[in-house]
């Protein structure tokens, strides 16, 4: 029976012809758009997470403390909420780091009469601390330290990145939703056309007492088949774009976002896209259902 129903659905799909092709292409377009935004958003999200892990807040100290005072200060900071680690950086270590950064121009630093760099605390944040509110609270607590002269660093720009990611997701969902609606309407049109072409068969089926499921299932399956085909094509489009454009974009992405390579959609997301396509097509097929009884 199932084989017969699937056979009827495929037969219907062939009969719907160009309208069915248009419906499949629209589903491809809507899911490719959604998947494309998802892909960009995933990578921006990864970049945000990557940079969030590397956030440091620097507490510049008024004067260089003794070793014991530095140790006590580190211990006081380490117990503050939102702090993952706290490390004391002496004036000498700071100068050493500067020399490393300057490389062959390090002699410039050696010509300084005194070391102008302040001692500091390098604070890394916990996941809770690496939020705008968490970071603001922590900065306020660190500023309140008697030893603190100035505070550097923060996560505002990372939050801007995360906001951009969320905006991308919303735009993706919006564009995807509009295209999905168009796809549903097209599948409905294709199925209505099939209903018209099949009116004699449906009449015979109802006349002989075919179960309602047998009457409707081919229409639903036809819509689902269109949706699945559209989803598979959308995924192929995304794979093609990723394979062709990925290597070209990676150097740029590495320099701007700090990601070594672009990530593709996860298996879970691919499954969700295929499911969404099948669901879209199924909706269209179901919406076109005909009259059942007088």
């Amino acid at each position: 029976m199932l084989g017969f129903l699937i056979g009827e659905a495929v037969r219907d799909l062939r009969r719907a012809g160009r309208v069915a092709v248009a419906a499949i292409l629209l589903i491809t377009l809507s899911l490719a758009a959604l998947g494309g935004f998802w892909l960009v958003s995933t990578n921006v999200g990864q970049a945000a997470a990557h940079w969030r892990d590397r956030v440091r807040i620097i507490v510049y100290l008024k004067r260089e403390p003794s070793n014991a005072d530095a140790q006590a200060l580190v211990e006081r900071v380490q117990v503050m909420p939102g702090v993952a680690t706290a490390r004391y950086v002496s004036k000498t270590e700071a100068l050493g780091t500067l020399k490393q950064v300057l490389g062959k121009d390090a002699s410039v630093a050696e010509q300084l009469p005194t070391n102008p760099l302040p001692a500091s605390l390098e604070v890394t944040l916990t996941a809770d601390g690496a939020t705008p509110e968490g970071a603001r609270g922590l900065i306020a607590r660190l500023s309140a330290l008697n030893e603190a002269d100035d505070i550097g660093g923060g996560i505002d720009w990372i939050e801007r990145l995360a906001r951009g990611q969320r905006l991308l997701e919303i735009i993706g969902l919006g564009v995807g939703a509009v295209l999905a609606l168009a796809a549903i309407l097209t599948v409905t049109t294709a199925t209505t056309l099939v209903l018209h072409l099949r009116r004699q068969e449906l009449e015979i089926m109802r006349l002989v007492g075919a179960p309602e499921l047998v009457v409707r299932l081919p229409l639903l399956l036809q819509g689902m088949l269109q949706g699945l085909l559209g989803a598979v094509m959308a995924i192929w489009v995304l794979i093609a774009v990723y394979t062709l454009a990925g290597p070209q974009l990676e150097p740029l992405v590495s320099q701007t976002l700090g990601l070594e390579r672009l990530a593709f959609l996860s298996t879970q997301t691919v499954v969700v896209l295929m499911f969404a396509g099948t669901l879209l097509g199924g909706c269209g097929g179901w919406l076109a259902r005909g009259r059942t009884e007088p």
């Binding site: 006349l207 007492g209 009884e293």
Partner: protein, 223 residues
């Protein structure tokens, strides 16, 4: 088998009410062959459509196969129809399918096991004398052959009741006689038959109980 009690069917055409059937009552027993005679527009088709619940009566009671037809819903309608074979003046064969596929189609949609389909299709085609035309498409059939194919489709699932709505209406005398012989064979096999026709001569030659409808009223029940 069939029982109608004071059945009315009134169609509303805008503000105008047009009665298609007026106060129709009759009984028909299991295994009977009854001819339903009446001119075009007398209400024969409406009456048949009420029996397989394609229409609902405006008033009155209809029992078919011990089932109160107007009260049926969804699956119950389908279940009733599985016991009824219907043939029409136009054979209503599916144009894209062969005679074999047309008959097999109804068996498939009713979930008949695959191995039973071919023997049952050919049994039905043998009964109507169309075995040799199994692979022909409807456009390649004469009107008489098309009507016989429709009969094969109706009897392939072995219905208890056959409703024939003017199956000979568009056939010449020879073809009509062939179709009538087949219907009689089906009846002889135990199927109850209600045969609608507008042809008075045909109703007379059938020599069966005849119900006569005039303008939606049952005016005669004889034979």
């Amino acid at each position: 088998m069939i029982e109608l009690h004071r059945v009315w069917k009134v169609f509303a055409v805008g503000p105008v009410k047009v009665p298609a059937l007026s106060d129709v009552s009759f009984r028909m027993g299991k295994g009977e062959f009854v001819t339903l005679h009446g001119a075009s527009g007398s209400g024969k088709t409406t009456l048949l459509r009420l029996l397989y619940r394609e229409e609902l009566p405006t008033e009155g009671e209809i029992d078919v196969l011990d089932v109160d037809v107007p009260s049926l819903r969804g699956r119950e309608v389908a279940a009733l129809r599985r016991s009824i074979g219907v043939v029409f003046q136009d054979a209503k064969l599916l144009p894209g399918r062969t005679v074999y596929e047309n008959v097999a189609f109804v068996l498939r949609v009713l979930g008949t096991p695959r191995r039973e389909i071919t023997p049952r299709v050919f049994d039905a085609l043998r009964t109507v004398g169309l075995s040799a035309r199994a692979q022909a498409y409807p456009t390649q059939l004469s009107q008489g052959e098309a009507q016989r194919a429709a009969l094969a489709r109706a009897i392939a699932r072995k219905p208890l009741l056959l409703l024939a709505d003017e199956p000979t209406g568009s056939l010449d005398e020879t073809m009509a006689a062939e179709v009538i012989d087949i219907v009689k064979d089906i009846w002889a096999g135990g199927t109850t038959v209600l045969f609608a026709t507008h042809q008075a001569a045909l109703a007379a030659t059938l020599r069966q109980r005849t119900l006569t409808l005039v303008s939606g009223r049952l005016v005669k029940d004889e034979g």
